[in-house]
């Protein structure tokens, strides 16, 4: 529809405030976002959505990403924003590649488990190997659930 781009632009920037509000929780793990960083994350979120051809409503996935990953031993304040950006990009990309077969929470849980587990904090390994395997499984109808053991 022609009206959709205009409607997309009408989406508010309330989400920036909500990201900053996450600091109340994340500061316990030594992680903190400045207003500038939050704005940058939101701007990159729009870029990621555009690049992956997706539309998002409401607060977006960033808040959930922050809460899911804030207790990871592999995320420090120094790499906090960069990691969030990479995770956000990977999330939208693989959401598409998984053909909508996994819910947000399921995908986030998978990413977190492997990021902290066999990936040992390596985003490259997570994206290029494990998530690709997951997508292949989804395309060919294999069960994606794994043994926690």
């Amino acid at each position: 529809m022609d009206g959709l781009p205009a409607l997309l632009q009408a989406q508010g920037l309330k989400a920036v405030e909500e990201l900053i509000a996450c600091n109340e929780i994340t500061v316990r793990f030594g992680l903190y976002l400045s207003e500038e960083q939050a704005q940058s994350l939101m701007a990159k979120r729009m870029d990621a959505l555009r690049e992956t051809g997706r539309v998002e409503f409401g607060e977006g996935i960033l808040k959930k990403l922050i809460f899911e990953f804030c207790d990871s031993p592999y995320i420090m304040q120094d790499n906090y924003v960069d990691t969030l950006l990479a995770l956000q990009d990977a999330f939208y990309y693989f959401k598409n590649e998984l053909l909508e077969q996994l819910s947000d929470d399921e995908l986030l849980a998978f990413m977190k488990r492997h990021f902290d587990g066999d990936c040992e904090g390596s985003l490259e390994y997570l994206s290029s190997s494990l998530l690709e395997d997951l997508c292949r499984g989804a395309r060919y109808g294999q069960a994606w659930e794994e043994d926690d053991a």
């Binding site: 529809m1 022609d2 009206g3 959709l4 205009a6 409607l7 009408a10 989406q11 959505l49 051809g53 997706r54 539309v55 998002e56 409503f57 409401g58 607060e59 977006g60 996935i61 959930k64 939208y92 959401k95 598409n96 909508e100 819910s103 947000d104 929470d105």
Partner: protein
């Protein structure tokens, strides 16, 4: 016959008010509201935000809260569905400006809810009409008809999603109806399609289906495999016979009938033809006992108008054969041609050498008509002894029967006719056939059988 109120109606106000789909209608309402000041800039903005909020809500419902984002294509389909439902509710408000006032007063969400209820009601009515169609479908073996009625339409009712994708038609409708449905989407399209198909089906059911089958065999080759509308030849021939004040039920129009039709209609202007056809349509409806069915009558009247236009166009070519088909056995003229004895090879080679040495075409033609008794020799001589500009003169002495036999003989050898624009004597023959006057050409092509069919 079906209850008229179950359908949107063939003669609905649809086209009068706005010929586009429901979503396009909503945009037209917004535009008209903005231009006339019925909707202020603030209201327009509020409506956009309300639409956005509703889209977010519907998307969340669609993903069942599992996903905060969806592909753009999915969002577009969901938005289209919202606009389709709102547009459906606004349609029939009495024009764009009244619809804009209603939009302003009622708001986006309530209109969407009402529109969606209408969609579901239409779906219920569509299922009812479909059951009638399925139970009364004519016993045709036409593949497109059967696929559409017994596979595509059930698939539509099984897959259609009025809650999220109300504008979509999740099936493949192959069978072409006489008046195709334009500008409609989703269940509106399907209901209107079924409604028109029901009318056509009821019309066909008035005739002995054996006659219908024989007519279709004459109408085209392998009618069961073709994407053809069954109503069209039946209606046209019924009206053709009614024009001649003959019984329309047997459906067969023979050469004599076509000549009589040509005589009757030639020289009449478009309005006079339309008047005659209208009366003939009335006689057909009476004979078929459908005169009291107003919806059927309206459909036939409109088909009659279409037929009048086609008659006027065909009369310019002075040939109604393409319009009023005959039963298959009546159309194919039985024809047997006995070719003369071919020359011995040496004699033929000598003749070819001699003709090649001739300076004038007239000398070659004298030798051709005087010495050549077989079409098989004719085929050998023509490309060897005549040039591009001489072929017409070499073909002109052939009678209709000889031309037909030549076409048959050649078609057996080449299998396919060349493009008339090509060079060579066979392409020249194809061009020559096109120049043969109407009735004579029709006879030649008819006698030539399959070879002639390929040149029609």
């Amino acid at each position: 016959m079906i209850d008229e109120t179950t359908a949107i109606s063939f003669l609905a106000d649809w086209e009068k008010e706005h010929s586009g789909g429901n979503a396009a209608y909503l945009y037209a309402v917004l535009q008209a509201g903005g231009e006339t000041g019925i909707l202020s800039a603030e209201e327009m903005e509020d409506l956009q935000c309300a639409l956005w909020a509703l889209l977010a809500k519907r998307t969340q419902r669609y993903t069942m809260g599992d996903s905060s984002s969806v592909p753009v294509e999915t969002a577009q389909r969901l938005l289209h569905s919202l606009c389709f439902c709102i547009g459906m509710e606004l349609r029939g408000s009495g024009g764009l400006q009244r619809a804009a006032r209603r939009l302003s007063a009622a708001g986006i969400s309530p209109l969407f809810e009402k529109g969606r209820d209408r969609v579901k009601e239409l779906l219920r009515k569509g299922r009812e009409m479909f059951q009638v169609l399925k139970s009364k479908a004519v016993p045709t073996n036409n593949r497109a008809f059967a696929d559409t009625v017994f596979h595509a339409l059930p698939a539509f009712f099984a897959r259609y999603d009025p809650d999220f994708f109300a504008q979509e038609i999740p099936c493949s409708i192959d069978y072409p109806i006489f008046f195709s449905v334009e500008g409609m989407e989703g269940v509106q399209y399907i209901n209107e399609y079924i409604y028109r198909l029901l009318l056509e089906n009821s019309f066909l059911a008035c005739f002995d289906f054996e006659y219908v089958r024989r007519l279709l065999q004459g109408y085209c080759r392998e009618p069961d495999e073709q994407l053809i509308n069954l109503f069209e030849p039946v209606f046209i021939n019924a009206v053709g016979l009614a024009l001649l004040k003959k019984d329309c039920m047997p459906l067969n129009i023979q050469d004599g009938d076509r000549d009589a039709l040509l005589l009757l209609l030639s020289g009449l202007n478009a309005a006079e033809i339309m008047e005659l056809v209208e009366k003939a349509v009335g006689r057909v409806c009476e004979t078929a006992s459908i005169g009291n069915d107003s919806a059927m009558r309206a459909y036939c009247d409109r088909a009659g108008q279409e037929l009048s236009v086609r008659i006027s166009l065909q009369l310019k070519q002075n040939d109604l054969r393409e319009l009023f088909p005959s039963f298959s056995e009546a159309r194919r003229v039985t024809f047997a041609y006995t070719d003369g004895e071919p020359m011995p090879d040496e004699e033929l080679r000598a003749l070819i050498e001699e003709m090649r040495d001739c300076r004038f075409t007239s000398d070659k033609l004298t030798m051709l008509t005087g010495q050549v008794k077989s079409l098989r020799d004719y085929i050998e001589i023509l490309p060897e002894c005549f040039g591009d500009e001489e072929y017409v003169e070499a073909l002109a002495p052939l009678s209709e029967e000889e031309l037909a036999a030549l076409l048959r003989l050649l078609f057996e050898r080449v299998g396919e006719w060349p493009d008339p624009a090509e060079t060579g004597w066979i392409a020249a023959l194809v061009r020559y056939i096109e120049t043969v006057p109407g009735q004579s050409r029709a006879r030649v092509l008819s006698m030539a059988g399959d070879a002639g069919e390929k040149l029609r």
